[in-house]
Symmetry: C2
Subunit: 192 residues, 2 copies
């Protein structure tokens, strides 16, 4: 009975449980039960829990990039591009809070740290990265602060993620103007 969506059921189930209760609050048995499959079935689709976790992250990342790059104008001014990307990101998180919470769990796990270490210290120079490109051009045009790339990332993503977190935890409401002003504050942190 190979329904084509059995894998998707497992992913959705694991995602909900992990986003809400963390990796250790999502035992495979519970993932299986919620997905409506047998415990062993998961292992037909994913070699083990770690691989399930990493593949889920990669799927979210791909989905996220597709969304924020939609309508992105490569030749627009730095500030406009920044506003576009950060706004799209915040909207994405608002629309898919489960994705955000999963990413947060991932970020704070050994997998996430290792992943980030690779990206930063690995010096994948060939690899294309919208964010890096944006900041490098911004530095060249002297419209963003003259600081290391890593710090520019932290200064601009830090507040965005913190606000998103508070919104998703129900600590604050975000209407259109609040979104706009939050993104502008993120820009203020990096603009020269």
């Amino acid at each position: 009975m190979t329904t084509p969506n059995k894998r998707d059921d497992i992913v959705r189930s694991a995602m909900e449980l992990i986003a809400e209760h963390g990796f250790h609050g999502a035992p495979m048995a519970m993932v299986a039960e919620r997905a409506g499959v047998g415990a062993g079935t998961i292992y037909r689709y994913f070699e083990n829990k770690e691989i399930l976790i990493i593949e889920m992250y990669q799927e979210i990342e791909a989905k996220m990039y597709a969304l924020i790059l939609d309508g992105y104008a490569n030749e627009a001014p730095i500030r406009a591009r920044f506003i576009h990307l950060w706004t799209a990101l915040l909207r994405y998180f608002i629309q898919f809070p489960l994705d955000f919470r999963y990413l947060e769990q991932f970020r704070n796990s050994p997998y996430g740290v290792a992943c980030r270490r690779d990206k930063i210290l690995g010096n994948k120079v060939g690899e294309y990265n919208v964010f890096r490109e944006l900041f490098e051009q911004g530095a060249a045009q002297q419209v963003v602060k003259d600081l290391p790339l890593v710090i520019l990332f932290s200064l601009s993503f830090g507040p965005l993620l913190a606000v998103t977190r508070d919104y998703i935890l129900g600590f604050v409401e975000l209407d259109e103007t609040m979104i706009k002003r939050t993104i502008e504050a993120c820009w203020d942190a990096v603009k020269r």
Copy 2:
């Protein structure tokens, strides 16, 4: 054999393990071994693991407040007070990276979220809070952005914590000028 520092040994051991490997990477048996005590001994000092975790958080918080309030001038201008507090906080994290990593683990745990929820929604109006006072006065004097308190917190702590995290993970170096410019960028995010 009541050495007076047995409790401290347990706390230090638990702190190191939790900071480095998370709550689930710090089994009680390992905490005991590193502290040089028997597994059962821990339960003479702490009722259970959860209470150990929470008490450790409270100890760090107290230590942190003592440090950042040292030399804090209540009547100084908003910006100067902001710089003082954020700089002291960053220096504290740099000096005690274990404390920072423990706090991060705690923040991302159910304990930490519940704790924060209490502080924000509990409306502990009577409770004194330097940060809230600073932002409220800043808003009154129109030197900080007219945004909800929660968002001002996120905008200013978000980048600080993100940069600290990158420093502690070894992704970036922080000399005196870099510290100064990072704090100023945090200020830029909230200043009007």
